[in-house]
């Protein structure tokens, strides 16, 4: 994995198409603002849907609240795009950052968990004999979803406190969490 990370950072540095935009005066701040807006859309729609499954606004059909989901997916798309722009501009700050590794982990949990909802509870929630009370399975999935997305936000916010420094000696562990020597700029610090 270590070699793969080093290769990935080098590959991104060699081919990154967005560095010029992102290093301009407004590039990074605007991308960050969009990233936060996307976060709000995501929480506002997926979070609202999860709360509905857990029993908030019980009189509203689950399928009706689900109409907000496309707006959450729009927020997610905005955040994947802007997130990639950060990654493609400062690859070492993310690829070697333990907080980023955890962020990807929680994103994966959130994604797999969401597909579990559609695989296991779709019929009960949306079928002709749908009930107002979500099935227990769906409630567990909703609780996991809320935890996963909150964790994604926390890891995102903590990224800046786990910026990788230069590696010292032989590094162990599943993933590299420091910038190896001779890796261009290495840790940017602060």
């Amino acid at each position: 994995m270590h070699d793969f990370q080093v290769w990935l950072v080098a590959a991104i540095r060699a081919h990154s198409p967005v560095v010029h935009i992102m290093r301009s005066a407004w590039g990074w701040p605007i991308a960050e603002s969009l990233h936060f807006l996307g976060l709000c859309l995501l929480v506002g729609s997926i979070g609202t849907f999860d709360l509905r499954l857990l029993g908030v606004a019980k009189r509203v059909p689950i399928a009706a609240v689900h109409r907000f989901i496309p707006w959450g997916l729009l927020g997610f798309a905005i955040n994947i795009t802007t997130g990639l722009m950060f990654l493609l501009t400062e690859p070492d700050q993310y690829i070697y950052n333990p907080s980023f590794h955890f962020k990807l982990l929680f994103l994966t949990i959130g994604g797999v968990n969401a597909s579990m909802f559609y695989l296991t509870s779709y019929r009960q929630a949306f079928g002709p004999d749908a009930t107002l009370e979500a099935p227990r399975r769906a409630k567990v999935i909703a609780a996991i979803s809320l935890c996963a997305w909150v964790s994604v936000i926390i890891c995102g916010r903590l990224l800046t406190f786990y910026r990788p420094g230069e590696c010292t000696g032989h590094e162990t562990g599943l993933l590299l969490t420091c910038a190896p020597e001779g890796d261009g700029r290495g840790g940017r610090g602060g």
């Binding site: 701040p29 960050e32 603002s33 936060f36 807006l37 976060l39 709000c40 859309l41 995501l42 929480v43 506002g44 729609s45 979070g47 609202t48 709360l51 908030v56 606004a57 009189r59 509203v60 059909p61 399928a63 009706a64 609240v65 109409r67 907000f68 707006w71 997305w149 909150v150 936000i153 926390i154 995102g156 916010r157 903590l158 406190f161």
Partner: protein
């Protein structure tokens, strides 16, 4: 009136120094995380109501959107408290930056609009008379919803720009 001595005093308090200097993850990093989570829920619910007013999810009775009111205010209070803590940590940085006041103004307008829109659409007295259909959304409320969306967007952008537009970090520098 010179406000500098106030900044000097505030930055010398133990609370301010804990927020800024403590190595604990619960200090600055934790407060920032809470501020982002509170934002997600407060703005998220606010935007969801605006979108509903503008025609998204028509199957959700507008009056039922009031069930999410406590979620918005919980997010708001998380952010009021975490925001005040961040302000105690870096008072000079925020209070000498006009963008900070713009952010507060936009949040205030967005919250007033949320309450105003709510007053018009959360009312469900029509429910007691099942022969009366749910009243439609007036163009006026829809205009308020659009202004609300602009305010939330502006507040978030202003908040993010705080990291780039400050001229003084602390009272001494």
């Amino acid at each position: 009136m010179n406000i500098n001595p106030f900044f000097v005093w505030l930055e010398s308090t133990e609370l301010s120094q804990w927020v800024v200097g403590s190595p604990s993850l619960l200090a600055f990093p934790g407060i920032l995380s809470l501020h982002a989570i509170g934002m997600g829920f407060a703005v998220g619910i606010g935007v969801a109501l605006d979108l509903r007013v503008l025609g998204v999810g028509r199957g959700v009775p507008l009056a039922e959107m009031r069930r999410f009111v406590p979620v918005l205010w919980s997010g708001f209070w998380v952010n009021a408290v975490s925001g005040v803590l961040l302000l105690i940590g870096y008072p000079t940085k925020a209070l000498t930056n006009p963008v900070f006041y713009l952010k507060l103004l936009l949040i205030a307008i967005a919250l007033v609009l949320y309450v105003k829109i709510g007053r018009q659409v959360f009312d469900d007295t029509w429910r007691t008379d099942t022969t009366t259909p749910e009243p439609g959304v007036s163009p006026r409320v829809q205009r308020l919803a659009i202004v609300s969306l602009v305010c939330w967007t502006g507040a978030i952008t202003a908040g993010r720009l705080l990291a780039y537009t400050y001229t003084r970090l602390t009272a001494s520098g």
